[in-house]
Amino acid sequence: MPEAPPFVHPYIPNSVPETRAAMLREIGVGDVEELFRDIPAKLRFHGRLDLPPPILDEAGLRRHAEEIVRKNVSCQERLSFRGAGCYQHYVPAVCDEIARRAEFLGAYSGYTYSDKGKYQATFEYQSMLGELIGMDAVTVPTFDGGTASGSAVRIACRLTGRAEVLVPATMSPQRLAIMRDYCNVGISLTPVGFHPDSGEMDLDDLRAKLSERTAAVYFENPSYLGLIESQGAQISELAHAAGAQSVVYVDPSSLGVLAPPADYGADIVCGDGQPLGIHMLFGGGQFGFIGTRDEERYVMELPTLLFSIAPTTTKGEFGFGWSSMERTSYDLRGESHDFTGTTQGLWGIVAGVYLALMGPQGMRELGETILQRVHYAMKRIGEIPGVRCPALAATPFKEFVANFDGTDKSVAQINRGLLERGIFGGHDLTAEFPALGRSALFCVTEVHTKADIDRLAEALREVVA
């Protein structure tokens, strides 16, 4: 029987037996297993891992991978109206080109002399996002918008020395769950009600709940239910009058047409940048941001890495560097109040590419076209007998609520019917917000044509009939 060929792997150059032998000779070790001699025998794994055999040929690996992923049905193949925190926007080809560059894909924590381009691209992203939200200090990407909001309200608690955060009753359940976990250190989260007709925050309830214990009023604009919170300035004023911080969560794709939160009194702005040229990736496209005024007392509370522009010894060039690392968990270790680590850096760079392509005019047009399409969709869906749409009266940005209490169908049934017609319908709110009855949250963006919306409306009409 011929001897089995050596196990040489394309990812492991030193798997060639002759090379291994030469290296072992160099270090004076007979068998590579001797290198594990400091691990006590009783802690060693003596068996063989029960894993499928290796697929050594790339063609075979690709075939296997494609077989699996083809069991998925993407939003390219179906018409999708899902949003609720992750959004289907058009991703410009230049964004994809930069996102797949080996230089950015393979960069990590190299410093400015190895990775200057990474630093500059990130600084530029921070700069362009700062223009959108109206803030001078912007962090590198955080894990996602939910963790950004968790960090933001904890900053407010540290700044005020208080431990209660008022949050909207319409808050995203996912972000609320993240914030709850993040604030499970003695910080209480108190919901503030909303007007049942408009969906906007109930300011009387806000006044009643504000107190000397309030560290922050956190609100989302547009809200999770898609509505533009027109009372932003009043909410911030009320928060400030109580000595609390105003923390605003925004959808950056709205900021070509909506006021930057700094204009209506936000002290800390946070949000999720996935809408800015990042694919949905089954949720893997999310990334968070935090912005504040460039005041030392705010900046020194930011938990993330911060990339600052810097002078160099050479005239005519910009450098970049890590700023004030003593703020971060890297330096504070067991004295930390928050933490950072490897997050979503590449998506910040890609969002910068997106904003550079869009420019001020593109962002304004994006907002305008979405607003018109959303209103058209609401109108068409509202014409269907038994469907109340919009279910809430405030102006929506790219999502709106439709209520199906006037039909005899549950949202789950309706979505099954839509799926049979090749449509991913609105996100079911029935369990998340029982007060809204049988309702769904529909998302419409610039990718949805009039024909797409008409198709949704026709399918819905059939399904609810």
């Binding site: 993407s74 930069i98 990775d115 921070q126 810097a310 450098g319 490897t342 910040g348």
Partner: protein, 523 residues
Amino acid sequence: MIEAESKITLRRFHAARWNEPIILELGSPGQRGIHVPPVEPELAAEVGPVAVPESMRRRQPPALPELAQHQVLRHYLRLTQETHSLDLALAIGEGTCTLKYNPRVNEEIARLPQVADLHPLQDEATVQGMLEVLYRLARYLCEISGMDEFSFQPGGGAHGVYTNASIIRAYHASRGQLGQRDEIITTVFSHPCDGGCPATAGFKVITLMPEETGYPSVEALKAVLSERTAGLMITNPEDTGLYNPHVGEFTRLVHEAGGLCAYDQANGNPLLGIARARDAGFDLCQFNLHKTFGTPHSSIGQSCGAVGATSALAPFLPVPVVVERNGRYAFDYDRPQSIGKVRQFYGNPQTALKAYLWIRALGAEGLRLVAQTAALNNSYLVKKISEIPGVALYYGEGKVRLDQARYSWEPLTRETGVGTQDIERRMVDYGVENYFPSHVPWLVPEPFTLEPAESNSKHDLDTFVEVLRRVAEEARTDPELVKTAPHQSTIGPIDEAAVNDPHRWAFTWRAYKAKGLDYASSE
């Protein structure tokens, strides 16, 4: 065959130096990078212009650049040329980071619409492929670690450590002991997040210091254990590359004291198929898929801290967890003891997919080969680096450093006045990535930490050694050359004081302008 590669010639490298302006300085009014799909006239006619509430109308357009498409692409391509990823430059110096090859076929798969354009809230029937990947990867990682369940929700290694701290908190709370058990024990050579994350979760953190061995003694651990102990959170091997052989005793003692043990496996590369977290007595662990499992580091992004738990602690994992029922895969949200969520949706599923494919390409035999080769590469590098005059190694005399080693230039610095950060800047002039000195505190003086993962060839290692040997020589013959480096990089040395001065730092272009800074014309 080996001889052909044996000759080491240091490169006459010079980085691209584009002096690329900040993008907000580029372009001119009216240029467009892309058009938004226009509203159809019939649609516009039907709804008319839609106004946003007056109070929320944007009055000033955002001061974004106005650039045509090609100019945007060119700007960013120039920035890519000024970024030396592991695919261009040897990244052996980024110790603790496990920079290894990221198979391109996995990237191609993750770009398919059936991955890239999946909405996370689609009907489960339409995402069976992704659920299958998450389910199978969880099973593989259970096999590799000995744990019973896995979650991929944490968006990074530190985030995984934080999740474990949150699980420890929830566990003690479920037993009514949270008020009493408020101390987490870690070690100073574990990653800083092993202290930072439990502190964030509200714990007091006790940090053990190393003995001559490089790790704390069993006695040191015993001295801090009490009824206040909530848990132990450590790496092993630690950042020194030294494996604490008493880890089994550590976990036993912590359990006896009523605490839990969480294993930060950021340094898990040399242990694949060699040693398992569960067998060392851990209740929880986390793998950094972007390190050990070959997925890209993505400019500090697309990461995943996969968290594993024993069946006793699995009920506390974030929701949802993927389950299999009669050949169909589903999300299980019905876990009343769960800590809830640590990130929206399911983390970075594209990263889990790439890690899955990486494991499939290697199998059990390949994973063991990864661990062996990581250890072989490191032992080889330790020998070669130690031969460079001016280098010292502290701790762990005679012990094997498994995946990485923290070296010291102290003898060289004493002799020449050239410090580790000078060398860090100078090595870039030879076309390799700068090395990572050390986390703080610097217990090892003038430190540098090297980690030669398995995707580096012997020739790569030899080349890297020669770069450091050359720079050490320069420190003796021409110390100013090293102290004023880099000379052939993308930029000259930056003014580190400026980025730490509130009056001179700027994190955005608008802050730079508002502060009246002018770095481009300063010397």
